[in-house]
């Protein structure tokens, strides 16, 4: 699709020839994930997580479809259909359920690494802005899907999580409360909310799959980025996706699935919360309500706003800050104007990148732990830094930073084996 030297599909078997003339599906696959897609030859292992995300989406859809065959989306029956029918009586039901539960967590682990790889190597920059934005759409859809999936077992955290998250909308003046009631189909989470969450939880993964196709399509126009951030110049810079990257992705996927299997089989509830094994009870609020771990940084930002500034009250500040903390990522391609993509050649950017990683880990820790004064203070500092990082520091760094010399080409950086000794090409 992307480069003139991309190998065209040449069907050899008469059946494939016959098919290709009528429906060029094999041609599409060959160009997308086969020998017809040239990929920079210098990708490191951080580039393996895109394929892994696809694998986890598949695991979630397959286990989820089978679980849906045994699940009852009723307020009376949901908890028992999961904890009695599926976990005890369905053949290998415990495996399906634990695989799905932990599959969600691992899907997020993979996607977070994928996102941070993009942040470090400037994968959001021209000409890949749309790839980045479609990725963020996938991420938002994943968050909605994961939240609604967590509600389905109808345990205490399911119920109170639904209560808190839909409560965000009531922070908005005038329209907020009617919108919340409309979304829930009632004044509190109940049958109406559970059935619609189930319906949407089944629908959204297929929407995600659709946006994944757009994500890959838009990626294949300029082709994949690479650790140097230097554009592909000629055939020497690339290798065909198959067999080189199928083989590299293959063994790494097997190794990563091993980690996933160890958690699923030996610590299946480690990433969950014990309270979700208590049936939902509208009259008993859990001692501290926390979302699943992958929402902790955003939950920390939400809870950090405790001051009524101007005419906006603290709750609305929290909700706005939380929504905006994700939305601002859509502006990233225009916030960071540095012409150098890769963090490897951006000494100042690199330091701030690692500071951001630490900042988000701190936010995650604060969001998942009970409220104590010093932890709240720590979270507030970290949340303030989060906004300053993207909206103030990054534009300034990209304007004033002196970047390191880039290699002339990918093949040069690879075959000489040394980026720094390459002839100087000043960019900027």
């Amino acid at each position: 699709m992307s480069f003139s030297w991309a190998k065209p599909y040449e069907p050899k078997h008469p059946v494939m020839k016959w098919l290709d003339e009528r429906l060029p599906l094999p041609r599409l696959a060959y160009g997308a994930v086969g020998g017809g897609y040239p990929v920079p030859r210098n990708l490191n292992y951080w580039w393996n997580f895109g394929v892994l995300a696809g694998i986890f989406l598949t695991i979630q859809i397959v286990t989820g479809i089978v679980l849906a065959m045994h699940y009852y989306a009723t307020a009376d029956g949901a908890f028992n259909s999961v904890n009695q029918l599926i976990m005890r009586d369905v053949n290998a039901g415990w495996l399906l359920r634990y695989a799905h539960m932990n599959g969600a967590s691992f899907f997020f682990i993979v996607v977070y690494i994928h996102i941070f790889r993009g942040l470090y190597y400037g994968s959001y920059k021209a000409p890949r802005e749309l790839v980045w934005m479609l990725g963020l759409v996938i991420y938002l859809l994943m968050m909605a899907t994961a939240f609604m999936g967590y509600v389905l077992p109808w345990g205490q955290m399911s119920y109170w999580g639904a209560q808190v998250i839909t409560g965000f909308f009531s922070a908005f003046p005038l329209v907020g409360e009617p919108v919340r009631v409309w979304l829930l189909g009632g004044y509190a989470p109940d049958q109406a909310a559970l059935t619609r969450f189930f319906s949407l939880h089944y629908l959204l993964p297929f929407v995600i799959a659709g946006v994944v196709i757009l994500h890959i399509w838009s990626l294949h126009i300029p082709g994949s980025g690479n650790p140097t951030g230097v554009d592909v110049k000629d055939e020497k810079d690339t290798l065909p996706f198959h067999p080189y990257y199928t083989a590299k992705d293959g063994w790494f996927a097997a190794a990563f699935l091993l980690v996933y299997a160890l958690v699923t089989f030996y610590a299946p509830n480690y990433l969950g919360h014990p309270d979700n094994y208590i049936p939902a009870n509208a009259l008993a609020t859990p001692a501290h309500i926390v979302p699943e771990w992958y929402f902790w940084p955003f939950y920390a930002i939400l809870r950090s706003c405790t001051f009524n500034l101007f005419w906006i009250d603290a709750k609305l500040w929290g909700v706005l800050a939380m929504f905006f903390s994700i939305l601002l990522l859509f502006f990233l391609p225009w916030l960071d104007k540095s012409p150098v993509r890769s963090g490897n050649y951006r000494p100042v950017f690199k330091r701030f990148f690692w500071l951001l990683v630490i900042d988000i880990v701190i936010l995650g820790y604060v969001g998942g732990a009970p409220i104590v004064w010093w932890r709240t203070a720590l979270g507030q500092i970290a949340a303030a830094y989060y906004f300053l990082h993207f909206l103030v520091i990054l534009p300034l760094v990209s304007a004033f930073e002196t970047t390191d010399p880039l290699p002339n080409s990918i093949s040069e950086s690879v075959l000489s084996g040394d980026a720094a000794e390459a002839p100087v090409a000043t960019v900027g």
Binding site: R41, N42, N44, N80, N83, Q84, M87, R88, W94, L95, N226, P227, T228, L239, P243, Y244, A247, G250, W251, A254, L257, L258, A261, L262, T264, F265, Y266, P268, P274, D275, Y277, I278, S304, T306, F307, L309, I312, A314, A321, W334, P347, V348, A377, Q380, I381, A383, A384, F387, L388, L391, V392, P395, D404, S413, V414, L415, G417, D418, A419, E421
Partner: protein
């Protein structure tokens, strides 16, 4: 063109809201520090408990589970239901079909009957339990359970060891943790005296528990296998039993996990060798893909940079 100044301004506003929150929070904390709570200072973490089912190769100790079932049947089931477990599931504890049938329906061991309908009159009645039934609850409904227990609802025990932080160790600690309120606590928190009808237990989150100590005397049950029924032993046995009720899949899970791990390990090794063959093997010249992030190259880069005096 105006995008970056506008976004920078929004970022500064959010940072301002957060900094205001920070200072107002700190000011409140230092001018009006929160009063210490007895439940924070005197709450204890669960005592360690080691069971045969622990660890990746853990298996249930069936004799212990049978003793735990006996404790549940003779003590706990007076108030607590076990709604998710069926009598037929007891096969996993080493009982035969005939033994399970006798346990459920003879009325000698399991005494609670199952709600039913009289086939002649259509009136509500009860019948003896069958192996296919789940354990019938001691009370007809939650209202009846509360009425008989000072308005406290005894929770269902099926998932108890998954539904509490600390799991089986928490259950064991709670059962053996009843004690008199420490004098030290009352001296420091005179208002925190355990109310009537509640019972002091430092392993319970708010220290005061509606459940009276259920295991009080050694020999409260007489174990069929001759094990000495100390309070500690009974608490351990019933905790082990509740691990099984919450995770009847545990043994199968551990066994299947080992098989899956071995399979994936072999798959990983084979796939890695295939990758090495494709990238570095065969008759074609070595495709030396050694990105800038390869340690060897990074070391070189660093050396070159040091030589050139470039930072970073």
């Amino acid at each position: 063109m105006f995008l970056r100044p506008i976004l920078g301004f929004i970022g500064a506003i959010f940072a301002l809201a957060l900094v205001c929150s920070l200072f107002s929070g700190l000011k409140t904390y230092f001018t009006n520090p929160p009063a210490p709570l007895a439940s924070e200072e005197f709450h204890k973490e669960p005592k360690p408990l080691h069971l045969a089912s622990d660890g990746p190769f853990g298996k249930f100790d069936k004799a212990q589970l049978q003793r735990g079932l006996q404790v549940y049947t003779e003590v706990c089931s007076a108030c607590h239901s076990l709604k998710l477990v069926a009598f037929r599931d007891l096969k996993a504890l080493g009982y035969s079909d005939a033994e399970i049938k006798a346990f459920a329906g003879s009325g000698k061991q399991w005494k609670i009957e199952v709600p039913s309908i009289n086939p002649d009159t259509g009136e509500a009645t009860t019948r003896k339990a069958l192996p296919s039934d789940t354990f019938p609850a001691p009370f007809a409904n939650d209202t009846a359970a509360r009425a008989a227990n000072n308005n406290a609802l005894p929770p269902d025990l099926s998932l108890m060891t998954k539904a509490r932080e600390g799991g089986a160790a928490y259950v064991y600690s709670l059962l053996t943790g009843f004690q008199n309120q420490p004098a030290e606590l009352l001296k420091k928190f005179p208002d925190a005296k355990t109310p009537p009808n509640l019972h002091y237990n430092p392993y319970f989150a708010n220290l005061n528990l509606a459940m009276p100590p259920p295991l009080t005397t050694d020999g409260q049950v007489t174990y069929a296998d001759g094990t000495k029924a100390t309070v500690d032993q009974m608490a351990k046995d019933v905790s082990a039993f509740l691990v099984w009720t919450a995770q009847p899949d545990l043994e199968r899970r551990h066994a299947a996990g080992l098989a899956v791990a071995i399979f994936l390990l072999i798959a990983t090794i084979l796939a890695y060798l295939a990758k090495q063959q494709i990238w570095h093997g065969g008759a074609e010249p070595d495709v030396r893909v050694t990105g800038v992030l390869e340690p060897k190259n990074q070391a070189k880069t660093r050396r070159a940079k040091n030589k050139a005096g470039v930072a970073g």
